[in-house]
Symmetry: C2
Subunit: 343 residues, 2 copies
Amino acid sequence: MSSIQDVATLANVSAATASRALSRPDMVAQTTRERVLNAAQQLGYQPNMLARSLRQRETRTIGVIVTDILNPFHAMLAKGVQDAADRHGYTAFLFNTDEDAGKERRALDTLRGHLPQGLIVVPTPHTHENLKLVPNLPIVELDRVTGNTGVTTVTVDNIGGARAATAHLIGLGHTRIGMIVGKLDITTAVERHAGFRQMLEESGQTYFPELVLPGQHREKDGREAALRLLSLPPAVRPTALFVGNNEMTVGAVLAARELGLKIPEELSIVGFDDSRWAQTMTPPLTVVAQPAYDLGVLACDHLVTQLGHMQSGRARASPARVQLPTELILRQSTAPPACVPTA
Amino acid sequence: MSSIQDVATLANVSAATASRALSRPDMVAQTTRERVLNAAQQLGYQPNMLARSLRQRETRTIGVIVTDILNPFHAMLAKGVQDAADRHGYTAFLFNTDEDAGKERRALDTLRGHLPQGLIVVPTPHTHENLKLVPNLPIVELDRVTGNTGVTTVTVDNIGGARAATAHLIGLGHTRIGMIVGKLDITTAVERHAGFRQMLEESGQTYFPELVLPGQHREKDGREAALRLLSLPPAVRPTALFVGNNEMTVGAVLAARELGLKIPEELSIVGFDDSRWAQTMTPPLTVVAQPAYDLGVLACDHLVTQLGHMQSGRARASPARVQLPTELILRQSTAPPACVPTA
DNA sequence: TACTTCAATGTAATCGTTTGCAACCACCGC
DNA sequence: GCGGTGGTTGCAAACGATTACATTGAAGTA
């Protein structure tokens, strides 16, 4: 690896001039600049980011923390962030926490040593506490929020999405609608539940608390919750399920299959978050789709503009609350309940 | 952010002593060590990796380049690598190239500036050329190989996997077996094709070149190839398909559905690489499963031991050729061909 | 007592880059 | 001819850590 000194020597100038030729072209004479550029080219010179960042006290690096890189939704978020960061000339370092407080802490510690200029995080209930490890770091919360005021958040309209899903089921004539909701210490779960309940009540339907079960977001949890709900006596069994995230939806579908319930004839299902699987399972699943890639891109865009503001000494940009719409995609997993004739 | 100088001042020692107290405990007196440790604790001191790495000329960082982070197989590889790196005290920086030469080049350039000590890469046909950007960097090739001698490779037994899948189909009585193979400039595709052909010929079956179509690894390609194969006249149409990767398998299944072909009664399908989708589609898919997580872990382990060897001045470890077995998982997408009675 | 030894600490150089400051030179206008 | 101006350049000091080497002082030995 050749250093700028090597380039300078080859071009017969001082290191300072070589540096300027590369990063402040207008400060050096045309001919010297060309000599330096040639030398750099010839040596395949690539600046040492460590040294540069150390001196400039700016790494052009941001951290990204997601909770489950194996979840396609999160993978898509990460991709959006990374693509956007790349466009802005930043490098995004990606960490995965499996929703684990310890891993999150370790990720933050590692990150801190590398002096990122900002952080995009899908928060967990521990994040609020853990973020003390990186004081004064500009943060953007993605997908979920911690309730921290003062940070920018980029989320989807979970309430709207849940309302749309619920309205759809009500419209089909369902009156006993169950919901499998996520952990209630996670904002998306809370909001989706709120939207569900709102829409039921606004439509004059009864909200049955016993038809709402929480899960830990995993396939297994979705399956267990669904098994419990669907094993209720026929008179009280829900005829439709609204499931709060993609993993649990898989579990719910599997549970229905185990019990021999035909979808959608005997059970309607709406999932939250679209996926390859939802599109190609039989029957294709009706879902509330989220613009995951755009969420990632927006989070990064906002973080970068915020960094720009800070750097140029302007007042800290007021924290944004970005919310993207969801889209209810009707497929074949929903139908009128068995006992009600098609309207 | 407090520096080691701050810690030193607070502890009433020189920066040198503070540094030693933290990283060479046995070189400093018990009592001073405690003073330093306290000071560090109190200030929440975290060493600046940039400065440290610059001085030590060692970043304890490795690069990871995969070609499609949205593909669960690659996400799993990445996770394996990152978990292992973490265990070894290394930080893994993940990049995604979408199989694109330009993106790969940019990723390598970015990476180079951060001076990684090694690189784990899922190579594309351009990788051989692009790797010139990072001369003298220890490399581990993951999943695929470039044919570079001198680098460690961690792959699965593609030939064995393909042979097992093919043998299974032959055993069921299929005589016209088609294959949708990947791009033939990618080693996994070549090997899976080779295994397929080998097994056919060893079993005394005919290898029909016209039943083997290439694709670009995407769902769309799988669908198109399958549509062509399955639209052949009944007399020559394949009764079974072996598909070379997970994405294309989805396409093949969709194609069969479009044509109204029942799986497995009218068409048997075996995919390469297991997935959530393969497990839960109807019917569940027979697949050649790959130990993706372990591949990632092993790649990282080998890279790290190699780094250890280099550092301790020992001879460069001879490049390993690690190959993990695949496992044929029988589910319900394969059955004897319609015209042949169950043996 | 004087000399050696060794543990504990400090001094200063170093990694590769950027950048404030000063030096230099050529040219211009008076 | 001289001072001023401004465009180019180099010198040297940072950035924050590690580490070779020098220094100190106390203990051990003859």
